[in-house]
């Protein structure tokens, strides 16, 4: 796709995206500290991948829905789930978004369009076409996003679901966050081609590759895909090239990683890059950036305090809602 000038995005939109990315970064940094403090068993951090979550979700409207992954904190926060309830959910507290039942990997918050994060790699993709089929039946122009990694692109369900989505022209955007590692294995060992996006041709819809560490570029690709989906023209596969700067899970010794590759990607940090571009714009007031920084620091500090001090769930919670009424 053609790269538009970043200056073409209004300053308010840029600042919103900065705030959302910063919220994710600070939230996950705090979650990682909870792991080292022994208050959270482990978690899968998406630090360094914030631009994909925010660029995609920023292009959505109320009523649109996402399905997320085991590394899905960013997607959920970008959709607007509350950081305090989410942090409490991570710590297994009764005040959590799902009462401490869902934890880090399975957040469900339908009020903000989150149909569920998912701890089965590739598990959300077949469900996402179902949500998109419902949207098509309901005829209200709603779109659905399925986030998954390049590791999930090797699951059979990914192929099955994309074939159906292409056949039925479903209003869905498949977002492959290619973060170069599937658990502990480098992409070169588990994906047969250079670009997962090229596979879209086999399903009859467009596939695009974007710099997943550039939020404006991700956002612009998402806007095109959303418009296409709303118009009834069917799915798009957006492959966001990014990098998992942390381990597969917190505590992962990461001995399998190539240090040169790691260092190169650390220089392309999406948040630092955005901050640099923001600072270079003469229509953005530095004080506004500082105010956002302060607001997010306070929000995450409060979320951590709330989570830490909240009570554990009522024991009955373990047996509730096994079946719906």
């Amino acid at each position: 796709m053609s790269k538009q000038s970043h200056n073409s995005l209004p300053s308010d939109r840029m600042l919103e995206m900065y705030e959302s990315m910063l919220r994710i970064r600070r939230f996950e940094e705090r979650a990682v500290r909870f792991v080292t403090e022994g208050k959270l068993g482990s978690t899968h951090a998406s630090i360094g991948q914030e631009a994909t979550a925010v660029g995609i979700c920023e292009a959505l409207e109320d009523g649109d829905q996402i399905l997320s992954t085991h590394r899905g904190h960013g997607h959920c926060l970008a959709m607007g789930t509350r950081s305090d309830a989410f942090m409490a959910e991570l710590l297994g507290k009764g005040t959590g978004t799902n009462g401490g039942v869902a934890g880090s990997m399975h957040l469900v918050d339908p009020d903000v369009g989150i149909l569920g994060a998912n701890a089965i790699v590739g598990g959300n993709i077949p469900m996402a076409i179902g949500a998109a089929y419902a949207a098509q039946c309901q005829g209200k122009g709603k779109v659905v996003v399925s986030f998954f990694g390049e590791g999930a692109s090797s699951q059979g369900g990914c192929h099955e679901a994309m074939n159906i989505a292409g056949l039925w022209k479903l209003p869905i955007i498949f977002v492959c966050e290619n973060n170069m590692y599937a658990e502990h294995t480098h992409v070169s060992v588990h994906v047969a081609i250079e670009n997962v996006a090229d596979r879209a041709a086999g399903y009859g819809f467009p596939g695009v590759v974007v710099d997943g560490n550039n939020v404006e570029e991700v956002f612009q690709a998402a806007q095109v895909a959303v418009e296409r989906a709303r118009a009834g023209d069917g799915p798009t596969l957006i492959e966001c090239k990014t990098f998992r700067v942390r381990g597969h899970f917190e505590g992962d010794p990461e001995k399998y990683k190539n240090q040169e590759e790691q260092a190169a990607w650390e220089k392309k940090d999406p948040l630092a890059g955005l901050l640099k571009r923001l600072s270079s714009r003469d229509d953005i007031d530095r004080d506004k950036i500082a105010a956002i920084d302060k607001k997010i620091e306070a929000e995450i500090a409060e979320a951590a305090r709330f989570a830490d001090q909240s009570p554990v769930p009522d024991p009955d919670t373990a047996l509730r809602h096994v079946y719906a009424e």
Binding site: N98, I120, I164, H321
Partner: protein, 323 residues
């Protein structure tokens, strides 16, 4: 007028539920233009159109996922998985996804999904189209499993499944497909979770379900000629299981046998035996008897299948062995 066939009432139930509720949709292999591999969805495409009645590719995992996602987003999909053997291909969506949504969301999302599938022996199709895998899904909290044995139950249970707010697996029997039976006029619902005493008796309780029900009823007639008055319980729902009906019957008969065509090990007979051991052991006069398939897959040859499955004679002999 002749009573309707088992498959015909399934078709009627689908028509009625789609008419009644526009969020009910149908998807599966060959379900739309062909009207179902065995006719159960005839006329639905013509009446309700291609948005609600959809042929899918041969993609069982995505088909069930489609149902889960659509159900979460406000629809009441009915997904047809041609043979229950093929459920093996979709287990992630059933076990890890559909079954967990209500729980993990703490009731904020539900999955009103119906899976229709064929279970049990039929037509010399060997080991991959005949398995009785009902125990697999019955072992998963969050799923419900029903298995009608008569046309009336086929209609009533399918309609209840479609209206239920949970994922329900409706097992149908190819061996019963063309069996006829009376079906009550008008709205007919059978509650999920309620067994049915298909034949009252005083001397022994025989618990069964699905395709084995007619065979057990025949065996009961023969036993009656030999002076044993058998009560036949058709579980109808395998999960949640109706313990009360089983234990109440046992409290009157003091003997119990279980008949199923799934292999004996870990089958629903084991669950019945465990319930009796835990809650009804003082009602027992003799050991519990399980009459089921041996520990092997089912072969194609009819002669081999006859040997393998619980026959009327094997049921009669098995029940007599506890007298």
């Amino acid at each position: 007028m002749q009573d309707p066939k088992y498959w015909q009432v399934i078709n009627t139930a689908l028509h009625e539920e789609m008419e009644r509720d526009e969020t009910v949709t149908i998807a599966g292999e060959d379900v739309a233009s062909v009207g179902g591999p065995f006719g159960a969805s005839r006329g639905l495409l013509e009446k309700f159109g291609p948005q609600r009645v959809r042929d899918t590719p041969i993609s069982e995992l995505a088909m069930v996922g489609l149902g889960v996602g659509a159900a979460m987003a406000g629809m009441r999909p009915v997904i047809e998985i041609m043979f229950s053997d093929f459920l093996a291909l979709s287990m992630d969506q059933l076990v890890n996804q559909a079954a967990k949504v209500s729980f993990m969301s703490q009731g904020r999302l539900k999955v009103p999904l119906t899976i229709r599938t064929l279970c049990g022996s039929g037509r010399t199709t060997s080991s991959q189209h005949v398995q009785s895998l009902e125990a697999w899904t019955s072992h998963v909290p969050g799923l419900k499993v029903v298995w009608p044995a008569t046309p009336a139950d086929a209609k009533g249970l399918l309609k209840s499944a479609i209206r239920d707010n949970n994922p329900v697996i409706v097992i149908e029997s190819l061996s019963l497909w063309t069996e006829r039976g009376p079906v009550p006029e008008g709205e007919h619902l059978v509650p999920i979770g309620k067994a049915d005493i298909k034949r009252p008796g005083r001397d022994v309780t025989i618990v069964t379900a699905g395709g084995m029900v007619p065979r057990v009823l025949k065996a009961a007639e023969i036993l009656s000629g030999d002076g044993i008055d058998a009560e036949v319980i058709d579980l109808r729902t395998l999960s949640p299981i109706d313990e009360e009906t089983v234990l109440e019957s046992l409290s009157r008969t003091h003997r119990i046998a279980v008949v199923h065509e799934a292999v004996k090990h870990y089958g629903f007979g084991a669950e019945i035996a465990a319930i009796v051991a835990e809650k009804g052991i003082y009602d027992l006069e003799t050991p519990i008897k399980r009459i089921a398939a041996p520990w092997a897959p089912l072969a194609s040859a009819s002669s081999l299948a006859r040997e393998y499955l619980p026959s009327v004679d094997k049921i009669v002999q098995g029940v007599k062995s506890i007298f």
